[in-house]
């Protein structure tokens, strides 16, 4: 598989959210606006690239039996870095994402890529894989956040199109489930057409 294909597979074909249905908690929890979605997506991308590269570098030294705990410690270290950096430089975003930043640790995508890809492949392709999957995740979060923000408050990236509140329910909890359901249906349809 060429590096280019390795990179782009995360966007539509193997998109972690729309196709693999991994890591749904932050997907639903933080996407009340496009900006929050993007921020969360980029934070996860950083953790994915970091953990993927470290895991692929030390894959030969970790005994098979303790590999999962070892991976979790590596992931948790990168999450702590994100937490501290974000708290220092982006306090507003940190406040809004709240609980979901430490919860990147238990995001199935991160551990899933470490186990399924990085522990078997070279450093180069692991970094590319992490970047592709992470950006695919960020893309999904931004898209869902954008749809919800547009329908729910008539704005996009805080830019107001209409003055009054639109369908407020899309910013609230139920809208997250409903919007994601319809988005997945649309992506399924697109994937079928391509195949």
């Amino acid at each position: 598989m060429s590096q280019m294909k390795n990179f782009t597979k995360g966007f539509i074909k193997e998109n972690p959210v729309f196709v693999l249905l991994l890591g749904l908690c932050p997907v639903l929890g933080v996407t009340s606006s496009a900006f929050n979605g993007l921020g969360m997506g980029l934070a996860t991308t950083f953790v994915l690239v970091g953990s993927n590269s470290v895991v692929s570098m030390i894959k030969n030294f970790i005994p098979d039996k303790v590999r999962i705990p070892a991976f979790i410690v590596i992931i948790a270290s990168f999450v702590t870095i994100v937490e501290l950096v974000m708290q220092a430089y982006l306090p507003v975003l940190f406040e809004q994402l709240g609980l979901f930043i430490p919860l990147i640790v238990v995001n199935c995508i991160v551990l899933g890529r470490a186990e399924a890809f990085a522990s078997k492949n070279s450093l180069g392709s692991s970094v590319v894989d992490g970047l592709g999957m992470g950006l695919g995740f960020a893309f999904a979060l931004t898209l869902l956040g954008g749809v919800r923000e547009l329908l729910g408050s008539g704005a996009l990236f805080d830019f107001k199109f209409i003055e009054s509140d639109a369908m407020l329910v899309f910013v609230l909890a139920p809208g997250a489930f409903i919007a994601l359901g319809y988005l997945i249906a649309i992506i399924n349809r697109l994937n079928k057409k391509n195949a």
Partner: protein, 190 residues
């Protein structure tokens, strides 16, 4: 009285799945049948309560006195992962029947963000140990309640004629949305 408020808030008003989006993965993945949902709920109740107690003790007697609270995320996830493993081993020895009922669900719980989420929330809300335990149990009951209701809906969905593109996960998510809408009716109760 205070405990009653914590319980009602955790089960209905701030339902962990439908209002806070924690533990959505098992909610969507495991909730195909009512019986498995109950099993999963039982396992979560068990681990969540234990994990909250242990992490609360670690936070207040180790992390805070030594001023290393920035290690919270790493410590908590390690504690939960080893706790799950330990519970699995102990259950296997002591109560094979309970292990038979909960066994398959235990490994899945490590990656259930509801457990880590509740452990962190308990710290953030400044609960004391007893309040933390009540909060964890009530949250787990709320989780089970949402799972069982949702499983009931999904069992009916299987017999419905759903448009092709919506079949499976999409229609399940839309019904979860409607269920969340119903739970929004509890807003303002406490």
């Amino acid at each position: 009285m205070e405990y009653a408020i914590i319980i009602i808030a955790a089960i209905f008003v701030n339902n962990i799945v439908l209002a806070q989006f924690l533990g959505v993965c098992p909610f969507v993945g495991v909730s195909g049948k009512i019986s498995t949902s109950v099993g999963m709920g039982g396992a979560v109740l068990f681990v969540m309560t234990l994990a909250t107690v242990v992490t609360w003790l670690i936070q207040n007697y180790i992390l805070v006195p030594f001023e290393i609270t920035f290690l919270q995320t790493i410590t908590f996830i390690l504690v939960i992962a080893s706790l799950v493993q330990m519970v699995e081993i102990i259950l296997k020895k002591l109560s094979p029947s309970l292990y038979g009922a909960l066994g398959v669900f235990l490994p899945l719980i490590t990656t259930n963000c509801a457990v880590l989420g509740v452990a962190i929330l308990t710290i953030q809300k400044d609960f004391n140990l007893m309040e933390g335990v009540v909060f964890a149990i009530a949250t787990a009951i709320g989780f089970t309640l949402a799972m069982v209701i949702f499983a009931g809906i999904r069992e009916h969905l299987d017999n419905m004629e759903v448009p092709k593109g919506m079949a499976g996960v999409p229609i399940a998510l839309v019904s979860a949305g409607i269920l969340a809408l119903a739970f929004m009716g509890f807003t303002g109760l406490v």
